[in-house]
């Protein structure tokens, strides 16, 4: 078969089941909702169980660097489950993005991340797309960093920050202990991935990647490719939960899910979720195999899955009726995550614009057409 395998292997199914079981036990909706009121007590224990006990922190790290040596295929499965539970853990920020930054780095920080002993975050705004300008601090000759970064995801959970900083001609990535930086929590649309504003003011950093721009872009690209699987997980929870609710809720003496207009919307949503699943799977597979098609696959997946997850969450809220608008019902967790994910690592519109260059569907040239008079003489018509 020449097509890449877009299904799940038995090993992946097992991984999914383990993650799902753990989340069912230890990541209850009420505890997640409490995060919006500032109670973050859920996070540490849950992340420890996933990262260290289950070994997920090292999933993408090669065995020789202390990791599990699995691939983006497996990481995608984990992200589907984390999305499905809106789990508030720094898997994407530390185990995917920060680890990808460090992939070519010397030193043992990557191994510490892989073991779950330490957790890192890349200090860029969550909204940064892979092709965007990368914000950077200034590094002086002694490796002391000065700069400010807004809306950084994973910083609250991190004990080490990966800070891009300009040192003379290039931009390196520096490791800075979280304790040496000012990390101010931000009231976030998605409190299950709460942001922080990060300032370093002369903090000592260790240069861990010399060619920082390349490493950061690669990491954001990997993050974008795998974020699509999180979005699929979010969307699938929304679909499944809504179908289950509508199969139970009765109005007008009938099961609400039997009303045809709702059935048709759910059929369309199912079609969308299945489509997103295929798109996200392809992005993960191309990332796993180093396929040159990964750039297109990632842009396609982000362009599609970002909107689809929002649609799924919006439909879930709407089709639950009033109950879906309440604080007690978990639907809003998914709406907020889906909307924040849509803005994360580049909006779908940004990814479509990136795609345009990759597939030779170029934008129009923006010459303001002079509204004037054109001479309509076609000499070929004038022979008769």
């Amino acid at each position: 078969m020449s097509d890449p395998d877009l299904l799940y292997s038995d090993v992946e199914d097992d991984l999914r089941a383990s993650v799902r079981d753990l989340l069912a036990d230890r990541c209850e909706p009420a505890a997640v909702i409490a995060m919006y009121d500032g109670d973050r007590s859920l996070v540490d224990g849950l992340w420890k169980a996933l990262a260290a006990e289950m070994g997920l922190a090292g999933l993408l790290v090669p065995e020789e660097r202390g990791g599990v040596g699995a691939s983006a295929r497996e990481a995608a499965v984990v992200l589907e489950e984390l999305g499905r539970a809106v789990a508030p853990v720094p898997f994407l920020t530390s185990a995917v993005i920060a680890s990808a930054v460090l992939l070519d780095a010397e030193g043992d920080l990557l191994a510490a991340l892989a073991s779950g002993e330490r957790t890192a975050a890349l200090a860029v705004p969550l909204s940064t797309a892979p092709d965007d300008a990368i914000p950077a601090a200034r590094a002086d000759a002694g490796g002391r960093l000065t700069g400010a970064f807004t809306s950084v995801a994973g910083a609250l959970e991190a004990d080490v920050l990966l800070v891009p900083a300009a040192n003379g001609e290039s931009v390196g990535v520096y490791a800075v202990p979280a304790s040496a930086a000012s990390i101010r929590p931000v009231v976030s649309l998605d409190m299950t991935r709460q942001l922080a504003d990060v300032t370093v003011d002369g903090a000592a950093g260790e240069l861990v990647v010399a060619d920082g721009e390349r490493a950061v872009r690669r990491a954001l690209q990997a993050g974008a490719a795998l974020l699509a699987s999180e979005q699929v997980g979010v969307a699938r929870w929304c679909l499944d939960t809504t179908v289950a609710y509508l199969n139970e809720r009765r109005q007008f003496g009938r099961v609400v899910g039997g009303f045809q207009a709702l059935k048709h919307r759910l059929a369309d949503l199912y079609t969308g979720v299945e489509s997103a699943n295929a798109a996200a799977r392809y992005a993960a597979v191309t990332l796993a195999t180093g396929d040159p098609d990964a750039s297109i696959a990632t842009a396609v997946a982000q362009a599609f899955c970002g909107d689809l997850a929002v649609t799924a969450a919006e439909e879930a809220v709407q089709l639950h009726g009033g109950i879906g608008m309440t604080w007690e019902h978990p639907a809003h967790l998914y709406l907020k995550r889906a909307k924040a994910d849509q803005l994360a690592l580049g909006t779908p519109g940004v990814h479509r614009a990136r795609l345009a260059n990759l597939i030779d569907i170029s934008a129009p040239r923006m010459t303001a057409e002079p509204a004037g008079v054109a001479t309509a003489v076609d000499d070929s018509h004038l022979t008769g």
């Binding site: 976030s188 649309l189 109005q251 009033g322 109950i323 519109g349 614009a353």
Partner: protein
């Protein structure tokens, strides 16, 4: 305009001028001014003489309100008492006894008594007629038990319009009665109902052995569904009928961001914003046209179509706004639970707008129910097969 109409306008303007001459809006006591305006028939001009009006066409109300507003007349608590003014008052007028009208309409209009609505229940949302709150007769009183939800302003309301089941042995639409319920009596327990925005704009209301005098029943026993339907028709006209200035509401907010923050623009967002701008402008024109029809006395279920559009546009615009804001769209103002008095989209942050707008297609009739209404009552398409129509309520599977 016919000669009669012209004369009517002139007469009305003169009455307002006379009233304002006699009651200086800037120096009079607020309540005295409002009570006097009511007594002068300049409250609701379409209401009958003696009940705040002059029996004039509804279309003249706008003009009167404008004249008073321009003169700096005091406000009758319009925003906080929307349910009272928009829904309770016309229903009391239509179905109330003379005594009820005398007792309730004046303090309602002046804003001294704010009203709320006790209709929806956890098991009776779109299927409102399935409501389970029971009212049992006990001499000259009714004893009410049940739970209501989605009640705006219940914590500050003095009275409520309430529908409860007085006869469970007949099919669901026929066993309901409509009451005017004092919210300060024992057994009324109002609890905030927190929403996805973090705020508690609505309440749950638990009713435990609440006693309501039979004199506060509105309409006949068993006529509750008919009365409630009249109330809800007024709600939908109220929600759908307004057509403000161009770029009013959500579209204006997003257009302002677009203009003030040019670095955020992308070609993709540009066309999407233009599409929504066009749709918002068309909705404004459609609302204006609908109001012109209503003024000519051609009311109907068409207001439901406006509400559909309004909900969709608010949702699409607020969703686009977050994409436009990018990084700033990821930040929220405050999740602290508060009980807001007024819902104003334009003064809040974009995240709030996005989340709150989700309610626009649920509150006051879900968009699904409104589409049914348009299809059946405007287009004349067949109703859904009704399996519960002739079954006694108590035998229905809940």
């Amino acid at each position: 305009m016919t000669a009669d109409e012209t004369a009517m306008h002139a007469d009305l303007r003169r009455r307002v001028a006379d009233f304002l001459a006699a009651h200086d809006p800037l120096t009079s006591d607020r309540l005295e001014f409002l009570r006097a305006r009511y007594d002068a028939g300049l409250a609701w001009v379409s209401f009958p003489d003696g009940h705040g009006g002059l029996g004039l066409p509804r279309a003249l109300q706008l003009e009167v309100d404008q004249l008073f507003d321009e003169a700096g007349a005091p406000d009758n608590n319009r925003l906080a008492n929307g349910i009272g003014l928009g829904m309770a008052a016309p229903t009391i007028l239509a179905f109330g006894t003379e005594k009820q009208k005398q007792r309730f309409l004046k303090p309602l209009w002046t804003g001294e008594e704010v009203w709320c609505q006790l209709f929806s229940e956890p098991g009776a949302g779109s299927d409102l007629a399935a409501m389970a709150t029971r009212a049992v007769r006990d001499g000259d009183e009714w004893v009410v038990n049940g739970q209501k939800v989605w009640t705006t302003g219940a914590h500050s309301a003095r009275f409520a319009i309430l529908v409860a089941r007085t006869n469970p042995d007949v099919p669901k639409h026929r066993g309901l009665s409509y009451f005017l319920c004092d919210m300060t009596v024992p057994g009324v327990d109002v609890r905030p109902l927190r929403q996805l925005t973090g705020e508690a704009e609505f309440n749950e209301v638990f009713l435990t052995d609440v006693r309501i005098p039979d004199a506060q029943r509105l309409g006949a026993e068993g006529q509750g569904w008919e009365v409630a339907t009249a109330t809800l028709n007024n709600e939908r006209v109220a929600i759908g009928g307004s057509a403000g200035p161009r770029e009013g509401g959500m579209v204006g907010v997003v257009a302002r961001t677009w203009r003030e923050q040019p670095h955020r623009r992308t070609p993709e967002l540009h066309d999407r914003l233009l599409r929504l701008w066009v749709e918002a402008e068309v909705a404004r024109l459609t609302g204006a046209r609908l109001r012109q029809k209503l003024a000519l006395g051609q009311p109907g279920p068409e207001g439901s179509a406006m509400k559909l559009t309004f909900a969709r546009l608010n949702q699409q615009l607020s969703g686009l706004e977050l994409e436009l804001l990018g990084e700033d769209g990821l930040r929220y103002s405050d999740w602290t639970m508060v009980r807001p008095e007024v819902v104003d989209f334009t003064e809040r942050d974009a995240g709030y707008r996005y989340l709150r707008a989700k309610g626009n297609s649920i509150e006051g009739g879900t968009s699904e129910i409104l589409r049914n209404i348009v299809a059946e009552r405007v287009l004349g398409l067949p109703a859904e097969p009704r399996v519960d129509k002739d079954v006694p309520w108590k035998e229905l599977r809940k």
